[in-house]
C-alpha cells in the first residue's frame, strides 16, 4: 500500500496541454493511474490523450465535474504560485508541484498561506510520487520499481530512480517513493514524510536520500532519534561539492558552512540511521539485514 496517493486517487493535471504535462499525463494513464481531468485556462472543453481526459478552464470546474482530489502541476515557474493557490482554493487535498524554478519568495508566501489549510503540497521541483500497483503522480518512471515494503523519500530525481531501480534489481520493492523537491523552501519536509511512513502499516523500512544545503536532514534526524521505530537508511549526496556553489538544484548549496554533507551524515548517524557511502550500497545493506545473500551484491 502507500502514503499520499493510492489506486483511488483521482488526478488532475494542471498544464495538461503543455509538452511536459501531456507527455507525463499519458505516462500516468499508461501506468493505470486515474487521470480524470486536465486544466489549461482558455482550453476548457477540449479533450486530450485520445479523448480520454477532459480539459477544464479552472481547477474548480475540473474538481466539480470529476471529483479530482490530487493535482500534479506542470505549469511554468512564473505561473506556478497561482496554480498552487488555485488548486488549494478548489479543495484539492494533495498538490504535487513538478515545476522547477519558482522564486523562493513566492514559495514562502505559499507556505505561510498553506499553514492554515488542509491541503498538502509536495514540492516544488519534485519528481512526484510513485507507488507500484497503486498510483503514479508525477514523472518518476513507472517501470523502475516493484511493490514492496520499503518507503523512499528524497530531495532529488534521477538519484532516487537509481536507488529504487537497484532495489528492484535485487527483488526489493517499495511501498511509496516520494520526491519532496530540490528547492530551498518546499511544501512538505522529510520529517512529515517520515512520520507518514512510520504510521503506514505497509512500510517496514525507510530510505532517505538527502543532499547538501539547508538543515532538513538534521531536523529529520531529531525526529528519527525520538519517534521512529522503523529502520532508516540514508545516503547524502554532495560530499565532494565545493562551498558557496549551487549544485544544480536551487536548494543544493553550502552557505556559511551550513548544509554540508558531513554534518548531515553525522546527525543522521547519531540518530541511529544506517548511512550508505554510495547510492548502490543501500540495497546491499538491506539485503544483508534480511540475511539474503545475492550474487549481485559484490558487483
Amino acid at each position: 500500500m502507500s502514503i499520499l496517493v493510492n489506486q483511488d486517487s483521482c488526478i488532475l493535471v494542471q498544464g495538461i496541454t503543455g509538452k511536459e504535462g501531456l507527455f507525463h499525463a499519458q505516462q500516468m494513464l499508461t501506468f493505470g493511474t486515474n487521470v480524470v481531468a486536465g486544466v489549461t485556462p482558455g482550453k476548457g472543453g477540449e479533450w486530450v490523450l485520445d479523448g480520454k481526459v477532459p480539459v477544464f478552464d479552472s481547477v474548480r470546474m475540473g474538481v466539480e465535474v470529476t471529483g479530482a482530489d490530487t493535482s500534479v502541476i506542470f505549469v511554468p515557474a512564473k505561473h506556478a504560485l497561482d496554480a498552487i493557490l488555485e488548486a488549494e482554493e478548489a479543495g484539492i487535498s494533495v498538490i504535487i508541484c513538478i515545476t522547477e524554478g519558482i522564486p523562493v519568495q513566492d514559495m514562502m508566501r505559499v507556505r505561510s498561506y498553506l499553514d492554515n489549510s488542509q491541503t498538502r503540497l509536495i514540492g516544488p521541483n519534485s519528481p512526484g510520487i510513485l507507488s507500484p500497483k497503486q498510483a503514479k503522480a508525477g514523472i518518476i518512471p513507472g517501470n523502475i520499481a516493484i511493490q514492496g515494503n520499503i518507503g523512499v523519500v528524497s530531495r532529488s530525481g534521477t538519484l532516487t530512480y537509481e536507488i529504487v531501480y537497484a532495489l528492484k534489481h535485487l527483488g526489493l520493492g517499495i511501498s511509496t517513493c516520494v520526491g519532496i523537491g530540490g528547492d530551498p523552501v518546499i511544501g512538505t519536509s522529510f520529517t512529515t514524510i517520515l512520520e507518514m511512513f512510520e504510521a503506514d502499516p505497509f512500510t517496514e523500512k525507510v530510505i532517505m536520500i538527502g543532499e547538501i544545503g539547508g538543515t532538513e536532514e538534521e531536523f529529520a534526524a531529531e525526529f528519527i532519534a525520538s519517534q521512529m521505530t522503523k529502520p532508516v537508511y540514508a545516503y547524502i549526496a554532495g560530499e565532494t561539492a565545493p562551498g558557496d556553489k549551487r549544485m544544480g538544484h536551487a536548494g543544493a548549496i553550502i552557505e556559511y558552512g551550513i548544509g554540508s554533507a558531513s554534518t548531515k551524515t553525522e546527525s543522521l548517524h547519531d540518530a541511529g540511521v544506517i548511512i550508505a557511502h554510495h547510492p548502490e550500497e543501500i540495497p546491499q545493506m538491506i539485503m544483508k539485514s534480511l540475511g539474503l545473500v545475492n550474487a549481485d551484491i559484490d558487483r
Partner: protein, 380 residues
C-alpha cells in the same frame, strides 16, 4: 546572483538607507579625482565578489589625493582569491562609535524570511554565531503580513540600541525589508551598520544575493551580473541551460540530474579519484544540449577521462548518444570515455556508440571505478 558592494548600496540608498558619500573609480587618476571631490580622508574599497577583502589588502584608508592615486594603483588590476579587481569604491571616511550587523535572509526550514541583528557587527555573522551565539537576534517575518514596526523596535531593544536611534533604525529596517522583497533577494545584509560619534547611522558595507529563479521578473538586475567571477565555461553552460561547475580533478562528468551528478562525483572520490566538474544536463536533454555539454567538459585541459552516467527517465539514452557523436565529430576526444546508459532507450543508445572507443559499465559504482582506473592510466 551576487551583487557588488556598490550595487548593494545603490539599492539600499534607493530604499531610504543612508550610505556614505562615494563613487566608483576604475583608474588611479579617477580615484584621486573622486577623493578630491569628496574631501579627505577617504576609503578605497576593492569591488570583488568574495569575502575577506580587508585582510587581502583590498580596503585602504587614505589621507591625501596622491596617496589615493598611489594606493588605487596598487589595488586595481590585482586579484583577490583569483578574482580581478576592476573597480574601486571611493567613499568618504566615517568615524565609528558602534558597529551593528543587520540583515534579512531566508530561513529555509521555517519557510519564512528572518531578520537578523547583532550589536557586535563588523565581523562575519558566522563568526559572531560561533563565538557569541547569544548576541544574535533573529525575528521571523510573516511574508503575507510583512515586517511590522514592533518587530524592528523589539530588535533595537534586544541589541541595546540607544532609544534616540530607534527611529532611524526603524527606517533602515523597513527599507531593508522593502529592498529584500522588491528585488527577490535571498540575502540582504548591512554589515556593519555604523553609528557615528555624531549619532548618525550609515550602511558602511553591504551584501545582496538575488534569487536566480526570480531573474525573469528582475530584468533590470540582470545587467548587474558580474561575469568576471565566473569561468567562460560556466557562462557558456548557462546559455545552454546546463549547470556546470569547474572543479580541480581530472575526471570529467556528464550526468542527468543534480543529485545523481553529485552522487557520481562522490563515487569518484570514494574510488580514489577526483572529479573535474559538476555537470547536470537536466531532464529530457536534446542531442544539441548533450553535445554542448561534452564540449564544455572537454575544454578543461586537466581532463584524463570522461565519465558519462545517464539514468534515462524523461531523458532518452539514444538522444544522449547522438549528442555525444555530434560532439565527437567536431572535436577529437583523446582521452578514454566511460559510458553508462540505463533506462529509456539504453539499448539504442549503446548501439549508436558501439563504434566509438569507449568503456561501458552497468552499475554506477563499476562506472566510477573504471573511470578512476583509466584516469590513473591503469588499463581497464
Amino acid at each position: 546572483m551576487k551583487l557588488h558592494e556598490y550595487q548593494s548600496k545603490q539599492i539600499f540608498s534607493r530604499n531610504g538607507i543612508p550610505i556614505p558619500q562615494g563613487r566608483l573609480a576604475s583608474t588611479p587618476i579617477e580615484a584621486k579625482q573622486v577623493a578630491e571631490e569628496l574631501g579627505l580622508p577617504v576609503v578605497l574599497k576593492a569591488q570583488v565578489l568574495v569575502g575577506g577583502r580587508g585582510k587581502a589588502g583590498g580596503i585602504r584608508l587614505v589621507k591625501t589625493p596622491d596617496e589615493a592615486e598611489e594606493e588605487a594603483s596598487k589595488i586595481l588590476g590585482n586579484k583577490i582569491k583569483g578574482l580581478p579587481i576592476r573597480n574601486l569604491l571611493v567613499e568618504k571616511a566615517i568615524n565609528i562609535r558602534q558597529e551593528i550587523y543587520f540583515g534579512i535572509t531566508n530561513d529555509r526550514l521555517a519557510g519564512k524570511p528572518v531578520m537578523i541583528a547583532s550589536g557586535e557587527g563588523g565581523v562575519d555573522i558566522e563568526e559572531i554565531a560561533c563565538t557569541m551565539p547569544d548576541k544574535i537576534i533573529k525575528v521571523h517575518i510573516n511574508p503575507l503580513l510583512g515586517l511590522r514596526d514592533f518587530q524592528v523596535r523589539g530588535i533595537a531593544a534586544e541589541i541595546n540600541l540607544q532609544r534616540e536611534n530607534w527611529r532611524k533604525f526603524l527606517q533602515i529596517g523597513k527599507g531593508l525589508w522593502q529592498a529584500f522583497c522588491d528585488i527577490d533577494a535571498m540575502l540582504a545584509e548591512i554589515n556593519p551598520l555604523v553609528i557615528t560619534n555624531e549619532g548618525h547611522l550609515f550602511a558602511i558595507d553591504g551584501k545582496i544575493t538575488i534569487d536566480d529563479n526570480a531573474l525573469f521578473r528582475q530584468r533590470d538586475l540582470i545587467d548587474m551580473r558580474d561575469l568576471s567571477a565566473e569561468s567562460p565555461e560556466e557562462i557558456k553552460a548557462r546559455k545552454f541551460d546546463l549547470s556546470y561547475i569547474r572543479l580541480t580533478g581530472n575526471i570529467g562528468c556528464m550526468v542527468n540530474g543534480a543529485g545523481l551528478a553529485m552522487a557520481t562525483m562522490d563515487n569518484i572520490k570514494i574510488c580514489g579519484g577526483e572529479p573535474a566538474n559538476f555537470l547536470d544536463i537536466g531532464g529530457g536533454a536534446s542531442s544539441e544540449k548533450v553535445s554542448a555539454a561534452l564540449k564544455i567538459i572537454m575544454s578543461d585541459p586537466n581532463i584524463k577521462t570522461v565519465l558519462i552516467n545517464i539514468f534515462g527517465g524523461i531523458t532518452r539514452c539514444d538522444e544522449v548518444a547522438r549528442g555525444i557523436l555530434t560532439a565527437l565529430e567536431d572535436h577529437n576526444l583523446n582521452v578514454p570515455m566511460v559510458i553508462r546508459l540505463v533506462g529509456t532507450n539504453a539499448e539504442e543508445g549503446k548501439k549508436l556508440l558501439s563504434d566509438q572507443n569507449q568503456i561501458t559499465a552497468d552499475t554506477l559504482f563499476e562506472a566510477t571505478q573504471l573511470a578512476v582506473q583509466t584516469a590513473k592510466g591503469i588499463k581497464a
